[in-house]
């Protein structure tokens, strides 16, 4: 049945002008473009503690006794990004005496189940603080609002359409991701060169914004986008699609909205006997390794998993009554470039480990993340 699931809603952009959400918002585009350049506040070298902007919220009057129970309603750990993130989160817990019990409920990617999970937590979880990583923005809003009535709530990754949470932790965002990759391509290529855009799924907010931003920049640079294809995040499909495009003509750069299938795309060039063109990937180890080995011209924008640490840190600050960045805690979102590549490549880590995890200095690294 997952065939249907993964194929869900796969018609391309032409028919997808969002009715509920706008994925091509010039204002947001400009804001994120600016945030990418901004100098973040907070300790140098610890991006999970940094924040862009000056807004702070006080939490002194909440009166929660430490050690407190923190409940976490998780949209799911159904992809490697979330697995790395969740590991970050559980390891971060060890750093906080003020957090006693940590209750984790996993909605397995279902809105309905996540709403029920939050109901359950409210009914019997004895939670003092709740962390929510919403499966989708609109659907989880009522549940989060309900939770806000009984306790402080921290939201991260996706947001909700309400300002009741204490803070919303997230990196710069999808436009930022799209901008960095596309600007890199625009800088490496000449006008009229061919770019293939590979996307995972339509309809997913964080991915749609990456695409709209990337597309905009590529178009503005006068590049020829030969196609924008959905891969379902499937390696085999990705490889097939790229092979098909290679049979039709040259490709000078590949832009991707997520890096999971980047290596498969690279292999399509190798196996068909082509030079590897300019590539936009992500911070997965397999891509970084390939990049280093083959000496590619590439960039890896990131959507850092360290935000999962930040969510716990925010919860701890709430319990301890400290101020924290809010109502939005915007984390920096650095891209991995030629210059910084060596810092992040680590052959000891598993192929789909996300290098921008901010976890290298933690005690249990690398074992807890599957490294050796």
């Amino acid at each position: 049945m997952k065939l249907i699931l993964s194929a869900a809603g796969a018609l391309s952009l032409s028919l997808a002008p969002a009715q509920a959400q706008n994925f091509n918002d010039p204002e947001e585009f400009a804001k994120q473009q600016e945030q990418l350049q901004a100098q973040p506040n907070g300790p140098e070298g610890e991006p999970w503690l940094q924040y862009i902007g000056d807004g702070m919220v006080e939490t002194g009057d909440l009166g929660i006794e430490a050690p407190a129970t923190v409940c976490f309603s998780n949209a799911g750990v159904n992809n490697p990004w979330r697995v790395v993130g969740f590991t970050n989160m559980t390891e971060e817990l060890a750093n906080h005496q003020s957090i006693g019990e940590f209750i984790h409920v996993d909605a397995e990617g279902s809105d309905d189940k996540q709403i029920a999970d939050i109901d359950d937590l409210l009914a019997g979880g004895n939670c003092d603080v709740m962390i929510v990583s919403p499966n989708t923005t609109a659907a989880l809003t009522p549940a989060v609002e309900q939770a806000c009535e009984s306790m402080p709530v921290i939201v991260f990754d996706r947001g909700v359409n309400t300002d009741c949470p204490v803070t919303y932790v997230h990196p710069v965002g999808g436009y930022g991701f799209g901008i960095e990759g596309a600007e890199f391509i625009a800088g490496e290529l000449d006008e009229g060169d061919n770019v293939l855009m590979l996307r995972i799924l339509p309809g997913v907010d964080v991915l749609e914004t990456r695409y709209s931003a990337g597309r905009r920049i590529l178009d503005e640079a006068g590049l020829n986008v030969v196609g924008a294809e959905f891969t379902d995040g499937d390696n085999a499909r990705t490889k097939s699609i790229v092979e098909d495009y290679l049979m039709r003509g040259d490709i000078d750069a590949v832009w991707m909205d997520a890096g999971a299938t980047a290596v498969a795309a690279i292999e399509a060039f190798e196996d068909s006997g082509y030079e590897i063109p300019v590539f936009v990937g992500e911070d997965q180890q397999d891509f970084l390794r390939k990049w280093e080995e083959e000496g590619m011209t590439a960039i890896a924008p990131t959507y850092p998993t360290y935000q999962w640490r930040t969510a716990v840190i925010a919860a701890a600050r709430v319990i301890e009554g400290e101020a924290l960045p809010g109502p939005e805690w915007v984390l920096p979102q650095p891209a991995i470039t030629e210059e910084t590549l060596a810092e992040y490549v680590n052959p000891a880590m598993p192929p789909l480990h996300y290098a921008m995890c901010g976890c290298e200095t933690m005690e249990t690294y690398p074992e807890a993340w599957g490294g050796n």
Partner: protein
């Protein structure tokens, strides 16, 4: 008995146009359309890539057709592929030498999962639809549990040889992907077992009428378990090819079980048992892959592809029912 006495022993039925499985003309038409759209397809690069791509599905369908012919379903094939790919990456851990023992282990896992499916159906008497649904969910969970949610190792090139490498300098076609050789060998072996051995005839018999088969002395459980084991084995092989072709990921196998069933049905396999052909399932898999390829060439988006797949599925079975009714059998 009113007819005149027949002089000699009844002969062997001849070939007739009406007897040809409709999947072959369908495939021919699709291939013709693809070549028309894209003459490059007639080049070795074109059709070899096509065959390479179709190989996992074709092998899967050839295994699935055993279970369908025996009267059941195997929904666990897709998750088994995932388990095999993720498991291989865990076990080989980028050690090229490990391939030599990891592949046999994976084939054994495939056989083992098939045996468990078969045992649940035969001995716990759970209908295969539910039984393999259960194993589908369980295997998916196991794959994640084993790897902790994300693959922990790379697949060495020795492992990926089967799914990825090409053998160059072959006369006539210039090169042959290794996976196409695997396809020919595996489908050939499965076709032989289905159509040239006692097993194959008994798979048909238990799907046709399990009670009669049992009363005729057919070891129904052993045959059924074997059918599931072959299906599991085919999934393991497909997994090795897919892992080889495209590397590690956690959802490689997603949806493959339904495509395999579709391919088998396109090849005329009768749901609930009694009829099924491995070559025709291969034809079904190639036709399905050709349909997808054609839709890609036409630039039709994914949703259209789904609609077409759905309509073809219904039409294929409706047509088969119609033919059966018309011929009165």
């Amino acid at each position: 008995m009113t007819g005149s006495p027949t002089a000699s022993r009844p002969g062997t039925g001849g070939w007739s146009l009406a007897g040809i499985n409709p999947v072959w003309p369908l495939l021919a038409a699709l291939v013709a359309a693809i070549v028309f759209m894209n003459p490059g397809f007639a080049e070795p690069t074109g059709y070899m890539n096509f065959l390479k791509r179709a190989a996992p599905l074709a092998i899967l369908a050839a295994g699935q057709v055993y279970v369908i012919t025996s009267g059941g379903f195997d929904l666990s094939q897709g998750s088994l592929i995932t388990l095999v790919v993720v498991g291989s990456s865990m076990l080989t851990d980028n050690d090229p030498a490990a391939t030599a023992w990891v592949i046999p282990v994976m084939l054994a896992i495939g056989l083992g999962v098939g045996a468990v499916n078969g045992a649940i159906v035969c001995f716990l008497r759970v209908p295969s639809l539910i039984a393999t649904l259960g194993t589908m969910i369980t295997l998916n969970g196991l794959a994640f549990l084993w790897s902790g949610g994300a693959p922990r190792g790379y697949l060495p090139d020795t492992f990926r040889f089967f799914g990825r490498e090409l053998i160059h300098d072959v006369p006539l076609v210039r090169f042959v992907p290794v996976s196409v050789i695997v396809l020919v060998v595996v489908v050939g072996a499965l076709a032989w077992a289905m159509h040239r051995t006692n097993l194959g005839r008994m798979v048909h018999a238990i799907g046709d009428n399990p009670v009669a088969a049992r009363l005729a002395g057919v070891p129904v459980n052993r045959v059924r378990v074997t059918a599931f084991m072959l299906s599991g084995l085919s999934a393991a092989i497909a997994g090795i090819l897919l892992g080889g072709f495209a590397g590690v990921s956690t959802d490689v196998g997603t949806g493959y079980e339904l495509e395999a069933i579709t391919a088998a049905v396109l090849g005329g396999a009768q749901l609930l048992g009694g009829r099924g052909s491995v070559p025709a399932a291969l034809g079904g898999a190639l036709a399905l892959t050709a349909i997808f390829t054609l839709l890609n060439f036409l630039g039709l988006p994914q949703p259209v592809r789904q609609v077409v797949q759905g309509l073809i599925l219904i039409a294929a079975v409706a047509l088969a029912m119609h033919r059966r009714k018309r011929t009165g059998t």
